[in-house]
Structures are given as structure tokens and as C-alpha cells.
Symmetry: C2
Subunit: 213 residues, 2 copies
Amino acid sequence: MPTVSSEELAAAAGVNSAKLRKDFSYLGSYGTRGVGYDVEYLVYQISRELGLTQDWPVVIVGIGNLGAALANYGGFASRGFRVAALIDADPAMAGTPVAGMPVQHTDDLEKIISDNGVSIGVISTPAGAAQQVCERLVAAGVTSILNFAPTVLSVPDGVDVRKVDLSIELQILAFHEQRKAGEEASDDGVVPPVAAKQQRKGPDGDVPAVMPA
Amino acid sequence: MPTVSSEELAAAAGVNSAKLRKDFSYLGSYGTRGVGYDVEYLVYQISRELGLTQDWPVVIVGIGNLGAALANYGGFASRGFRVAALIDADPAMAGTPVAGMPVQHTDDLEKIISDNGVSIGVISTPAGAAQQVCERLVAAGVTSILNFAPTVLSVPDGVDVRKVDLSIELQILAFHEQRKAGEEASDDGVVPPVAAKQQRKGPDGDVPAVMPA
DNA sequence: GAATGTGAATTTCTTCACAGCG
DNA sequence: CGCTGTGAAGAAATTCACATTC
């Protein structure tokens, strides 16, 4: 299939075709009137815009179960990410191969970062170690951090942090599950404007954004 | 602090206070005019609405690094989730304790689901096994699935699936990282309406929703 | 003829601002 | 007097619909 229309893409993605065309138009005019979009060219342009065509060296700090799972995760390579190093504070782990790569000790963190020109770090340490690791990463030149530890990290301006909470997705499922259960029964009063049950667009599934700890 | 105003909560969350009040109003009128919201009562009401006060038994299928990491994850219990069983297809793993719980064999999947009244399943198997596991879970009565395997699952109507792609968050960081780098330089032409650099509200960080595989 | 790219119309979301209540 | 709850105003996002181009 060398070419594809906005109509086809929109149907596949479950969105309106005009919106899709308008979104694409912000990246430039990559379509041909009367024909559609050249698939290969479009993929390249979107990949470039998203940064998929660049090589991003990343370090993973904290090689427990989660760190090891991340190191073994195949999805990174295909998206332009290269695991430059695995780092752990446990001296006993140093040298142990994980995902075909020797674990290095935290002592060498700064050198590893600068030798590899790393600007993105992944933290999968226990909560207690996360802030300290974060500070060392930032001091060494890392400007983007993906945090799997259950702590809120504080960082200086100019550094991006994204926190992944593995239980949030479960939470969203439970929320819908609860609605399924309550559906037959109640119709008592105003229905809150919490929409779409199917996962669409954003990964937040139209769930209220506020919740207690 | 027994009570809190919409203004304070809004400032803490980085949103407009009117929006916060309106959102809360959909759950009912839990505030007191002239005073604010009773913290304890508010937390309870929101928890209840989100399903945090219920007990949700879940099973984790596929006890590799990721499955083990999930089994050990402390965040689940505090959100009302109870890991009812760990299931793996490898007979050698059967009985091995992971997170203080013996791994059970896939043969017993159906029995485990029905004995524990499980309606939420987590799949952390390799991609190749995911669809088959999914079908068995659904047949056994599971109606919500959290999928960590890098495959799109197909399920019958009435079953919710949420897919977690661990590389997407990295992707978002790389996207912003790229923008940081390009900032000093170019100002050539139309700037796409891709906003907020800081993580706010939804976990998708205002990144275009379309991307190639 | 077919499908893009985009102004204009429409819908949805957010904020303002204030009446009303404790 | 202070702060909620909410109609009305305003802003933003989405969709329509069509002139334009291949």
C-alpha cells in the first residue's frame, strides 16, 4: 500500500478525518490532493518530528526487577533509544550481565553520563534512593528523567521529569469496572460527564485527574 | 489541617480554582460555603468515586522480570488492589515464591479466576503468549485487562483493555529534549500548537497522538 | 474524479463573576 | 465576611464543507 487517505487513517485510528488532516498540516503539507499521503514519506516525516530518527543514549539506574525488565525491553531500540549503561548501587551486582550488558557501579555514574553524552536517565531504584540519584544525574548533565520510583522528584528549572505510576492504569480499569457493575442498577440523579469507556487518544481514559495519595 | 479551600487545592495542583470547584460539584456538594472542604470527608468521597474503597483481586500472568516487579510493587495494596495469584506457563517456576507468594501454573488459571472472583487481569508475558492468555482470562470471566506485552489484544465487546507501552514515556521525554536542543536555533515558519513542556494533568504531555510503529 | 488543506461554523471546555449560604 | 456552587461569557478544540490541486 504505497499511499493512504486521511479517511482511511482516521477510520483506523477512530478519529475524524478533518482533524487528522489539520493535525498533519501543522507538520507541513505532505499530502497530494486527489491521491492521499505517501505512506513511507509520511512515516519518515512523523518519525523525524517525534525524534525517532535520532539516537538517544539512555542510562538505567537501579537494576532490580523493574530495571532488568526495562533493560530487556525490546521496544526501546526500535524507537531510537540505546541503553548506554546499567547502573546499580549494589557492589555485588557490578559486572553481572543483565540483558547482555555488565551492570556498573553508581560510583562511575558521572563518568558514564559524560562519556556517552547521555541526556536522558531512567530511575528504577527504591523510593528512598531516587532523589539522590536524580540529583547526581542532573549534576552530571542529564536534562530529562523518567521516574519509576514512587516519589515525587524535585529538579531545577529546565529539567523534565515524567513519573510512571504502574498502579494508575489499574486504577482506571477498576474505575470502569465499578461503572460496569453499577450500570444495571442506579440511575439516581446527575451522571457526571465522565465519558468514553474505550481507550482512545490519551492514556488517561477520561478519568478525573485528581485523586488522594 | 481539617479543612481546605478550592483556592489552596487549585494552587497546589496548578489549575484554576473554578474548574476544581466545578469538577468537585459533579461528585456532589461536599463543600461548606465560607469554610471550604473537609479534608477527610473529601478524600473519602473521591476515593469512593474512583473505586479505591473496594477490594479488587487481580492476577498477574507472566512472572518474568516485569511480572515480578509488579508483584513486588507496593503501590497496589494502598489503592485497593490485592494480588490474588501469580501465574506462569513455566512448570519450573511453579511453587517458587515471588513477593512472598507461590507462582502457580497456567493450567489452573480458570480455577484461580473463579475461586477468587477476579475481574481484572494483568498480562506481562512475552508478546507471543499474550493473545492466548487474554482469551483464557476473558473466557474465565475477566472483564478488564492491563496489557504490558507489546501486542495489540483483540477482545470481545464489554471487555476493557489498557495497553502500557514503557517506551512511550521515554518517547515523550525525547520529544521535549529535541525541542530544547532546537530552541536556540530555528524560528523558521509556523510553530505547531504543541504546548506545555511541564507534565501537567494527563500523562500524555501534549504530544501528537499519532505515531508510526 | 478524488482527496487535501483550511476558513467558518459548531461544539466542548475553561474561566469569570456573583448570588447564596454558613 | 469568606468561600462554594453555578449560570453566563469567553476561549479552545473539533467538525463541516468547499475551493483548490493533482
